[in-house]
């Protein structure tokens, strides 16, 4: 189980590690009668779970290119939501599908100077490949440079936003040096 830390204080990072490649666990499902927004009702302090959920939903969408808008909006909004929709559309246009799922090795939460809540996440995308409709591999596993070479473990900065009482991913960026600590 992916453990997450409690809310940190501004400018104070908190890290929680998970064994590389360990399957992700989704955030708890919403109970009946909860507020309308799918992200609402999540317990405070579940930022890391929000990232986990987001990547899980994204993987599922990339696998079919069919966007489950309800599910996606449960875990994301704004640019993060659109990012998944856009890539799904592009994959569909190209006739591509994703195989495999990403894994999270570490999440570090922090508050940016502008107040945004950031989950710097080391994501292992090595298990992910992209195939076309015939199964032909167009991006193999363990591929970072398009040729199947390189460690695809990278740092991602997911911007979180608390909507109602829950956290959802609203933005996504990466640092210039996206190498996860300890990775090649």
């Amino acid at each position: 189980m992916l453990a997450t830390s409690a809310c940190g204080t501004p400018q104070q990072a908190q890290s929680v590690a998970t064994p590389a490649g360990q399957p992700l666990q989704a955030a708890p499902a919403l109970a009946a009668g909860q507020p309308a927004h799918p992200a609402a009702g999540r317990a405070p302090g579940s930022e890391s779970a929000a990232v986990v959920d987001y990547l899980k939903v994204a993987d599922a969408i990339y696998a079919t290119t069919v966007v489950d808008e309800g599910e996606l909006s449960r875990v994301s909004a704004e640019g993060a939501y659109d990012e998944v929709v856009a890539l799904a559309a592009e994959l569909n246009k190209n006739g591509y599908r994703q195989r495999g799922k990403v894994a999270i090795t570490k999440i570090t939460l922090s508050d940016r100077a502008d107040g945004a809540r950031i989950a710097r996440t080391c994501v292992n995308a090595n298990p992910v490949s992209v195939v076309d409709t015939t199964g032909h591999v167009v991006r193999p596993v363990n591929d970072r440079d398009g040729r199947g070479r390189g460690n695809r473990t990278s740092l991602h900065d997911y911007q979180l936003q608390r909507i109602n009482d829950g956290w959802v991913v609203v933005g996504h960026a990466m640092p210039d040096d996206a190498t996860c600590p300890g990775a090649k």
Binding site: Y62, D82, V85, A86, E90, R139
Partner: protein
């Protein structure tokens, strides 16, 4: 603009009072004296004429503005071919007029059975349309060009035709019966053959009975499934043969003679033989018009392809699915004299067969000579996956982007800069790219140069410059690299949350336009299209683009973004090509391809924007939404690639190529080389090199720029003639070549010729003439200075005695009794009568006067012919042309006027001619003499000739003469 006749009256003031030159030539009556000749020479009094000549459509000079005008002027005019001319048409054109149906006045603009074309060029020539209108020989479709039809309408709106569009369709197999369909369009300015594009109708009748329109439009309308249905759509079941078809309840037959055609016998939705007629009610104003002057065609490519020399073929990356994202050709760039072609092709090939000697493997990237199109076999870089984009760089280098990982055996994912001559990698300008996103692939989709910066768009997250020690830079979906240092600008990252398919720096360098799948730039909304400052920080410029589908729809990704002067062009899903102003990015308009596909390539060349798509049907200008309502303002044929005016956005229907593309994937790249040739690439396999013949095309097709240079004007225009005919002559245009000269009279072209002179009937009033030269492409020179024709100085010639005039003749041995060379009271009633020439022994003799026995031949043949001159006023010259065979003496009213091959002194019946020329020699040496006018008499005149033999057995004899009177003009 053509002005219309004020009251529509067929009567014109050009019923001219005429004055006879007072000449009647000898008549055909043999007995009873001279009759009035049917040939009279009339000259006009200029007092009542207000236009140079009658307008009846029977001659080029008399071309009418419409069939309707002819019918009004000549009510009994029969159906047939007439000359028509409008200011917009400029040159007179032969057209077929229906002068019977519903009052007549209809002009035929197209006819045929199956296989009508949508292109503005139509099919065939105007003469083909005019000359063959019925029968099986008219089954092959022939259509006037849209330009010609707009010319016949003189620029008038199609939807303003009160009688609409009339379609006569055969209703039975042998074509003996037909129906009349009338369509009125709700919105149509210029002509278009794109009936299948769903033009909105305002009414329809079949044989005069209204047909409820319902949801119908020109693609499919009717209230039954048989004869009261019109379906203009192409159907696979009918081999895509269009149009004017009946409903499924009308069977057609596959034989050549059937007026109802279907692909197989008995198949429904027959394609009938049909004629398309229009009835513009234009008239020719009397007032002078503005003469044609220098005009050149708009710069565009020819609509037919250049002959294919080389091409590319096969798919290099052919594993897995076949789809439109992996077409043979996807990029072009030119460095020096070489054009580089990139894509997913496997081979370079010459000719459709691709023989071993002319085909060689050169996957993904190859170079071709810009002029000859021949490949450069020394340029052989290697790639391991497809190329999506190319850009020419300074210093003989070329930037290459795509989905490859290795170049020349080196790891170069997605992007590389090559030496354009050797194909070697330029390491310092070849950064390493990464796509560290969890999903998707690494690709570079667009590279563009602006100043010393190379802008890159695609699917990536990090660049690491090719210089030693460089650190990675986060640059998501867009980046820029200094072309001098190779450094990646860490301060310019639009941070798009989706792939950038195209990036285009603005001409002033202040912006970079982006199109793709993204919706955000960093945290700001940037819906599929964005304008980003090129200043550090890549600030987003506010813009809310428009789409043909709901804003924000996942199906609204954009492939194309280009700047042209003051406009930004954005193309993509769904099927849209829209324009915006550059200053505030406000929406200007545009249109959609129908049924078509998304726009996926564009290039700006001068004042033209070329854009391509997987679309081979129509472009609907003004269409705003992807719902195929009929809100568009114009529908034109669009054959995978089209042209738009960069300033106005107007679709250029003149450029409408016909291409065949593998799986219809269409155009994915476009480029104009240094010679002005348009290259378009994709999955093309065939192109048309004439309107009806195709050639093999290897992935890409080239289109040469059309001739837009006006010929030099002709010079030294002279106009001179008589009261009956005028000859204009000039010095040819120095341009030479295939030049047609257009002679305009009072501003209207009355004659066209490839010669340097032309003769035409004398105008009824003094007139002004100008001359222009038009080349085969339609470019027109400046006009010559106007030359005036003053009728007062013209002369009129009248042939008062013709070679075939009626003669009284005597060939009886003795001389005629009395003063046989004079008029009354001498009577020749007892003489024989016959038409000239008289004589024997040659083929031109009309009346043989010979006797049965040569030995009894008299030596002299006597002849008299008479002509009437009611008035001698103005006659200033009289010329006699007399046949001398063997010898002859001619008299006018008793006075000798000519003598040939005869001795001097008195002439007797027994006088021998002094020479005996053969008839052919005599014909070439006729005696021409000026005759004193004073010999003429008012009233009856007598020309008498005695012709003498040189020897009795002479094989031929001839008596004939022509007498021409010349009258000065007034």
């Amino acid at each position: 603009m053509m002005t219309r006749h004020r009251d529509g009256s067929p009567e014109r003031t050009r019923r001219l009072r005429t004055t006879l030159l007072a000449v009647t030539t000898c008549a055909a009556t043999v007995t009873g004296g001279f009759a009035v000749s049917p040939t009279t020479i009339a000259t006009a009094s200029a007092a009542e004429a207000t236009a140079p000549r009658p307008v009846d459509g029977r001659t080029e000079a008399g071309a009418a503005a419409s069939c309707w005008e002819i019918k009004q002027r000549v009510p009994d005019a029969a159906s047939g071919v007439y000359w028509l001319r409008t200011p917009r048409l400029v040159d007179p054109m032969r057209a077929h007029c229906d002068m019977e149906t519903d009052g007549g006045g209809w002009v035929l603009v197209g006819r045929g059975r199956q296989g009508w074309r949508h292109e503005a060029a139509g099919l065939g020539t105007s003469d083909q349309v005019a000359n063959v209108v019925t029968g099986t020989s008219a089954y092959p479709v022939r259509q006037l060009s849209a330009d010609a039809i707009d010319g016949l309408l003189d620029g008038g709106r199609v939807d303003a035709l009160t009688d609409g569009i009339r379609i006569r369709r055969a209703t039975n197999r042998d074509g003996t019966q037909s129906q009349e369909v009338r369509l009125r369009l709700a919105r149509r300015d210029t002509w278009s053959w794109t009936f299948a594009a769903k033009h909105q109708l305002s009414s329809m009748t079949v044989d005069g009975a209204d047909v409820p329109l319902g949801a119908g439009n020109t693609a499919d309308v009717g209230d039954d499934t048989a004869y009261r249905r019109l379906n203009t759509q192409m159907a696979a079941a009918q081999s895509y043969a269009a149009e004017f078809a009946y409903g499924s309840g009308v069977a057609g037959y596959a034989d050549a003679a059937s007026a109802l055609w279907s692909k197989t016998d008995g198949q429904g939705a027959a394609r009938p033989f049909a004629q398309v007629w229009l009835r513009p009610k234009l008239t020719t104003p009397d007032a002078p018009a503005t003469p044609p002057g220098a005009t050149t065609r708009r710069a565009l490519p020819e609509t037919i392809a250049m002959p294919t020399t080389w091409g590319v073929s096969g798919l290099a990356s052919n594993g897995g699915a076949v789809n439109e994202m992996r077409t043979e050709v996807q990029a072009f760039a030119q460095v020096g004299d070489l054009v580089y072609v990139g894509g997913n092709f496997a081979r370079v090939q010459n000719g459709a067969d691709g023989s071993a000697t002319s085909t060689f493997a050169q996957p993904y990237l190859a170079a071709f000579d810009v002029t000859t199109g021949a490949p450069v076999r020394t340029f052989t870089p290697t790639f391991d996956n497809q190329i999506k984009t190319l850009a020419a760089l300074p210093n003989g280098r070329i930037a290459v982007g795509g989905e490859f990982g290795n170049v020349n055996g080196e790891r170069r994912p997605g992007f590389v800069v090559l030496d354009a001559s050797s194909g070697a990698v330029v390491p310092t300008l070849s950064p390493m790219l990464e796509n560290r996103l969890t999903g998707g692939t690494l690709s570079v989709r667009s590279v563009k140069v602006r100043g010393d910066q190379l802008y890159v768009g695609g699917a990536f997250t990090h660049f690491t410059a090719g210089t030693p020690g460089a650190r990675p830079v986060y640059a998501r979906s867009a980046a820029r690299m200094n072309l001098t240092t190779g450094a990646i600008d860490a301060n310019w990252n639009p941070a798009l949350n989706g792939t950038a398919v195209e990036i285009s720096p603005s001409a002033d360098g202040s912006r970079a336009y982006l199109a793709g799948y993204f919706t955000k730039s960093a945290t700001s909304e940037a819906m599929k299209a964005a304008a980003v400052s090129t200043a550090a920080g890549a600030a987003l410029i506010p813009w809310k683009p428009s789409f043909s589908v709901a804003y924000g729809s996942k199906d609204s990704f954009q492939f194309v973004i280009k700047e042209s002067d003051n406009h930004v062009w954005v193309g993509g899903a769904q099927h849209s090509l829209f324009r915006y102003t550059t200053n505030n990015l406000g929406f200007l308009g545009g249109g959609l391809s129908f049924a078509g596909g998304d726009f996926q390539t564009a290039v700006v060349a001068g004042d033209t924007v070329f854009a391509g798509c997987h679309c081979a049907d129509f472009f609907l200008t003004g269409m705003r939404w992807y719902n195929w309502n009929t809100s568009f303002t114009q529908a034109d044929s669009l054959g995978f690639i089209g042209a738009w005016d960069a300033a106005s956005g107007t679709y250029q229907r003149d450029f409408s190529p016909r291409l065949t593309a593998r799986n219809g994937y269409g155009a994915w790249s476009s480029f104009v080389d240094s010679t002005g040739v348009l290259w378009t690439g994709g999955s093309f396999t065939k192109s048309f090199v004439t309107p009806t013949t195709t050639q093999w095309s290897g992935g890409y097709v080239r289109f040469a720029p059309r001739d837009v240079t006006a010929p030099q004007p002709p010079s030294r225009l002279k106009v001179d003639g008589t009261m009956t005919s005028v000859t204009a002559s000039w010095t040819a245009s120095p341009t030479g070549g295939d030049t047609t000269y257009e002679l305009a009279e009072n501003g209207r072209v009355i004659a066209t010729t490839t010669q340097t002179s032309v003769t035409f009937p004398t105008p009824e009033i003094s007139a002004s003439y100008t001359l222009t030269a038009r080349d085969a492409a339609g470019n027109r020179s400046a006009a010559t200075d106007a030359v005036q024709l003053d009728r007062s100085v013209l002369t009129a010639e009248a042939t008062v005695v013709a070679d075939n005039s009626l003669w009284r003749w005597m060939y009886a041995g003795g001389p005629p009794q009395g003063a046989w060379t004079t008029p009354e009271p001498y009577s020749d009633d007892s003489w024989f009568a016959g038409r000239g020439p008289l004589g024997w022994g040659s083929t031109d003799i009309t009346t043989n006067v010979d006797v049965p026995q040569i030995t009894t031949r008299p030596l002299t043949l006597y002849g008299r012919t008479r002509f009437e001159l009611p008035s001698l006023t103005g006659i200033s010259k009289l010329t006699a042309t007399i046949t001398i065979n063997d010898g002859a003496v001619a008299y006018l009213n008793g006075t000798e006027i000519a003598r040939g091959n005869m001795p001097t002194g008195p002439i007797y019946p027994t006088t021998y001619a002094t020479a005996g020329p053969r008839a052919s020699t005599a014909a070439k040496n006729r005696l021409v003499v000026e005759v004193p006018v004073a010999l003429l008499r008012q009233g009856r005149n007598i020309l008498a000739i005695e012709t003498h033999l040189n020897y009795k057995s002479t094989p031929d004899l001839g008596l004939a003469a022509r007498l021409v009177a010349t009258r000065s003009g007034q």
